[in-house]
């Protein structure tokens, strides 16, 4: 494990950049536990101050120190992303393994449903959901909802893997030695599928954090919880751009970009490392 990280640090510039970006994000998350301000309170500092040494990201029209507020926002957004990813991974693995291993009509029904969810325009459906839940919407609910919608692409990927695993000789050996289909799926196929699951997890985290930003901009998430999305929502509500408080938009945008680039670079770098063909090109072997 350590040698893998060392190799990646040595040979892949993207990985180095990812480590720097994600390190910054991790530092912010740790700092949030040490924040001098309660993010739920407003008018704790002078309002509308531009970035300065005392207030690195400036202060908002609600009298909040933007830097400290954003430490909570990053933490919450990442929490949402991870929770969504866990829920949708479980569904994707279940659907993918079942469809791939069982085949037949079950496979056809599951994949037809799967393709339907891939194609459906998600945002209007989420707007309808958010609109009806309004005040009851919490970060946890949102993660569950996104988790319920975020699985189809990866389920298909897992299924196609299982289809090829099924033709391998070890599957046949397992069947002839009397193992049940369920046992084979869990003990023989799941380990092969897990690397893909890992690779798609980061993509799913990015997707769900992006969705939260989108829904918050529309005012359809839990607006009292600090997240990267609600930061932008409140900036818009107070007409930050028109009033010239540009840092209120710029700071959350910057933090979002750093988080996304960090995760994205990490994802592509790891992905190429997992694939032996691209790994050779990477390390120059």
């Amino acid at each position: 494990m350590i040698s893998i990280v060392r190799d990646l640090l040595k040979y892949d510039g993207r990985f180095r950049l990812a480590v720097i970006f994600l390190g910054g994000v991790a530092a912010m998350i740790l700092l949030s536990y040490n924040s001098p301000y309660d993010p739920g309170k407003s008018f704790v500092v002078p309002w509308d101050l531009p970035p300065s040494q005392q207030y690195i990201f400036g202060t908002t029209s609600r009298g909040q120190d933007l830097f400290w507020w954003l430490t909570f926002a990053v933490r919450n957004s990442l929490f949402l992303g991870v929770l969504t990813a866990i829920i949708s991974r479980v569904i994707a693995i279940l659907v993918g393994l079942t469809a791939g291993y069982r085949g037949g009509w079950l496979d056809r029904v599951l994949m037809s449903l799967n393709d339907t969810f891939v194609v459906l325009p998600l945002l209007p459906i989420l707007i309808l959901l958010g609109f009806l839940l309004r005040e009851r919407m919490s970060l946890f609910y949102l993660a569950v909802i996104l988790g319920l919608f975020g699985w189809p692409f990866d389920a298909r990927l897992i299924r196609s893997q299982v289809l090829s695993l099924k033709e391998r000789s070890f599957t046949r050996t397992a069947i002839y030695s009397g193992s049940s289909g369920f046992w084979i799926t869990i003990h023989e196929h799941l380990p092969f599928v897990l690397p893909i699951v890992f690779a798609t997890t980061i993509n799913n985290i990015l997707w769900s954090i992006g969705m939260e930003v989108t829904l918050s901009i529309l005012g359809l998430s839990d607006l009292t919880t600090p997240t990267l999305g609600t930061a932008l929502f409140w900036a818009n509500q107070h007409g930050a751009l028109v009033a010239g408080i540009w840092w209120w938009i710029a700071a959350p945008a910057l933090v979002t970009i750093v988080l996304f680039l960090g995760l994205y670079l990490f994802f592509t770098s790891i992905n190429e490392f997992i694939d032996p063909r691209t790994r050779l090109r990477l390390i120059g072997g």
Partner: protein
């Protein structure tokens, strides 16, 4: 195409697509039917009371009419099965009820007015980003040493990974706020009336569309680039490409006729798959740029608590996206000779 081939095409290709098309619409509409019924509050009363609390100047009769319309819209009269069938019945008649904000203008006609704005932006943007992304993606795997292509790739990747909203707001702040070369919001100057016969007005609308369209193109570009690059990276070392090179064919011919021609097919399939996502992106982008399309309608409906409009937008989006995917599936055989002559 002979009779037997034709029959094979219909049964192997056409009928499965039609079934999938109907499945998408069926599942999508059923989901929109179920969602309001799972909501923990009584939507009708919540709606009516907010309307009244907002000091709406409607007389009791219109409020009662609205209550009936809402009960209808939420599908809350009769048994669940009856409600479900009524819901479909209304859809077939294209009757999605009146907008609550602009009572009693029908939702359908408001969506009909906004849709052209979205399509005028979305369709050219999708086509441009698809073409540019694929051409540059193929070039970058065919000319791996080219510096300019590497820079383009990195930029495309960076933009691709960031949420739509952030890309849009960054472009808006940079090109309408710090360097004010483009208008800040809207589809035409404030205070002018849409007049599609005046060239000056059309020029203005184009000027207003540049920034939103550029955002959509930028967002889509990276995905097509990466997809095409990974698809072609295996093709460039195929025997038939090496053969074409030894035969001394022009580089451009090899690139377009030999390499891209093969790799464009999975990309077209991917295009059909992402139409829903692209459409969602266009909605949020319209919100940022204050564009009067479907996204603009949606944000106004959210602020004014216009439930029937939200419902209408959801339903029309599902049908519209499903139809777009279906049409693409039908056009696909034109590009893929294997499907045509199967």
């Amino acid at each position: 195409m002979g009779m037997a081939l034709m029959r094979k095409f219909i049964f192997r290709y056409l009928i499965p697509r039609i079934i999938q098309y109907l499945t998408i619409i069926f599942v999508g509409i059923t989901v929109t039917f179920i969602i309001p019924r799972l909501a923990p509050t009584d939507p009708v009363e919540a709606q009516v009371s907010t309307m009244v609390a907002m000091g709406s100047s409607l007389d009791p009769e219109s409020i009662e009419a609205m209550r009936t319309a809402l009960t209808d819209l939420y599908g809350l009269s009769g048994s669940p099965v009856e409600q479900y069938f009524t819901f479909w019945g209304r859809l077939f008649r294209g009757d999605l009820g009146p907008s609550l904000d602009n009572f009693p203008t029908p939702v359908s006609s408001m969506i009909g007015q906004a849709l052209p704005y979205t399509l005028r932006l979305l369709i050219p943007a999708v086509i441009i980003s698809f073409i540019f992304g694929n051409v540059f993606g193929a070039m970058s795997s065919y000319y791996p040493e080219n510096k300019a292509l590497k820079v383009i790739e990195v930029l495309g990747q960076v933009v691709r990974s960031i949420p739509y909203y952030i890309v849009a707001i960054v472009l808006l702040v940079v090109f309408a706020y710090f360097i004010p070369i483009f208008p800040f919001s809207g589809a035409y100057p404030l205070g002018t009336r849409p007049d599609w016969s005046s060239p000056e007005f059309i020029l203005k609308t184009i000027e207003h569309a540049v920034l939103p369209a550029a955002t959509l193109i930028l967002i889509g570009f990276g995905g097509w680039f990466v997809g095409m690059k990974s698809l072609t990276s295996n093709i460039i070392s195929e025997d038939y490409v090496v053969y074409a090179e030894t035969a001394g064919l022009r580089k451009n011919t090899i690139l377009t006729q030999y390499i891209m021609r093969t790799a464009i097919l999975p990309q077209l399939t991917a295009l059909a798959m992402v139409i829903g996502t692209v459409f969602s992106g266009a909605l949020i982008m319209e919100v940022v740029f204050g564009y009067p399309g479907i996204g603009g309608l949606a944000i106004r409906a959210i602020y004014s608590n216009d439930y029937s409009m939200i419902m209408g937008i959801t339903i029309y989006s599902i049908i519209g996206v499903a139809t777009a995917v279906f049409v693409m599936d039908l056009l696909y055989p034109l590009f893929d000779p294997r499907v045509r002559y199967q």
